[in-house]
């Protein structure tokens, strides 16, 4: 059995959160560049160019892309043939987050839900761990801003609502968000599973690379149809009007109960901050 020190996971978490907050991913950069050509509204084009310029300044001067450096969301895929040694895994992930937000001069945006007292170090992180085959550990860091997360929701639709019900819900959420979640957005949709897994699916959908379609041709078609409808809403970059309201839309699915049709929508801002490493 392969042994991996949890301190290595802590170090990876620290590196990934600093990197994700300062350096926009290659995929997002390319997608924003193509969006400049697609956009027809002058104000929309200007906002897209501003966002690209922002990414350049952030990376060159090592300033975070956005002041909302997010709640720290960590996905861990732990190979079943790895022995995690040298301490508590949860504590190691927290240490990585604490170091990233402290030493990296990132904003601490985590607070008590009632008193609103800031926890001071952006912990605790939100950790989604799963056990997979193999002897590796995949670590994904997603700093998630509040502005986009606030326009996310789970709805328990009835089976009779079907595809029209899903589409209406997704469009409703994008309209409700309008300029607030920092468009051009990425839309993650989770369909099926149950109450809590639909929400997780919608978040995982945000991790699918730009332009990649669902393997099921029917779902892939639905992704493109919904993307087209969203981009017909006219919201545009920063909500100043235009046709690039969303950079992409991804659906993730799971079978569900015969009585249910759980659907979750998770909205992501233009930056779609995400960095990963496999240890």
């Amino acid at each position: 059995m392969r042994e991996l020190q949890v301190s290595e996971i802590a170090a990876a978490v620290e590196r990934l959160f600093v990197d994700a907050n300062i350096n926009l991913g290659e995929g997002v950069l390319k997608r924003l560049e193509s969006a400049v050509d697609e956009e027809v509204s002058p104000a929309g084009k200007e906002v897209l160019r501003e966002l690209l310029k922002n990414a350049e300044v952030a990376s060159r001067e090592q300033i975070p892309i956005c002041q909302d450096t997010g709640l720290a969301i960590v996905f861990l895929e732990i190979g079943q043939d790895v022995h995690l040694a040298g301490g508590d895994l949860t504590e190691a992930v927290s240490t990585g987050v604490r170091n990233a937000y402290g030493k990296g001069y990132l904003r601490k945006s985590c607070c008590n839900p009632f008193t609103r007292q800031n926890t001071g170090d952006n912990t605790p992180p939100i950790v989604h761990a799963s056990i997979v085959a193999g002897d590796r550990v995949r670590v994904v860091a997603m700093p998630k801003g509040g502005g986009s997360e606030n326009y996310s929701e789970v709805r328990m639709l009835t089976p009779s609502a079907g595809v029209p019900g899903i589409k209406a819900f997704v469009l409703d959420m994008v309209k409700k968000g309008g300029p607030n979640p920092c468009p051009p957005i990425t839309v993650g949709v989770g369909v099926g599973g149950n109450f809590e897994t639909s929400a997780l699916l919608s978040k995982e959908a945000l991790m699918v690379p730009f332009g990649q379609r669902h393997p099921d041709p029917f779902v892939a078609g639905l992704e493109l149809e919904m993307l087209d409808e969203i981009n017909g809403l006219g919201i545009g970059p920063a909500g100043f009007g235009g046709k690039v309201t969303a950079l992409d839309l991804h659906i993730k699915t799971l079978p569900c109960h015969i009585a249910s049709l759980p659907v979750a929508v998770n909205i992501q801002c233009h930056a779609n901050r995400l960095k990963e490493v496999t240890l």
Binding site: V40, I65, R107, N118, P179, C182, G239
Partner: protein, 184 residues
């Protein structure tokens, strides 16, 4: 696109010269305040205490910046979603607040108060926190330091780029913008 250069504090004349959709470069002092600071403003007023800043003619920026790295004035400093301050904004506008900078739509109550009290709502580009930080020359906490990123700070800005979203005549850039490109 014509660019208007204006200075804070804002005069009535300056405000009346602005129209929804105008691109504006703002210079002078502005104040940061977001959720927790606004809640405290309301507590101060309810208990008969003065606000930590004289809001008359001033501009409040809905912003909670990242901490500055050594040798820098401020970290990333873009706008947060303004609608969360909708519950508090009419009270501050009633006290003479002249401008707000944020992102996203305002409630009908806020839009009405903007007309009634002759004020203006500006939008800065959401997500452009690194770029916007370059236009901030000084950062000084003036109240509620214990709130960390939510403290009230005085910023000296130079040519800070914003768009006029809601003007004093009832215009709304978001409605104008989306209306032009709507297909469904």
């Amino acid at each position: 696109m014509e660019i208007k250069r204006i200075k804070t504090p804002l005069s009535g004349e300056t405000i009346e010269g602005l129209r929804s959709g105008d691109k504006v470069l703002l210079s002078g002092y502005i104040y940061t305040a977001r959720d927790a600071a606004h809640k405290r403003f309301m507590d101060e007023l309810r208990e008969g205490r003065p606000l930590p800043l004289e809001v008359k003619g001033q501009v409040i920026y809905y912003c909670g910046p990242t901490p500055p790295a050594p040798g820098r004035v401020i970290g990333a400093a873009g706008p947060t979603t303004s609608s969360r301050m909708d519950a508090y904004a009419p009270t501050l506008l009633g006290l003479g607040l002249a401008g707000m900078i944020g992102k996203g739509k305002r409630s009908q109550e806020v839009r009405d108060a903007i007309r009634t009290y002759k004020a203006v709502y500006f939008g800065a580009t959401g997500g452009a926190g690194a770029l916007l930080s370059k236009r901030i020359k000084t950062y000084e906490i003036v109240a509620y330091g214990d709130l960390g990123p939510e403290a009230v700070a005085r910023l000296l800005v130079e040519d800070f780029p914003v768009f006029v979203i809601n003007d004093v005549f009832g215009g709304d850039l978001y409605e104008m913008g989306a209306g032009s490109y709507k297909k469904i």
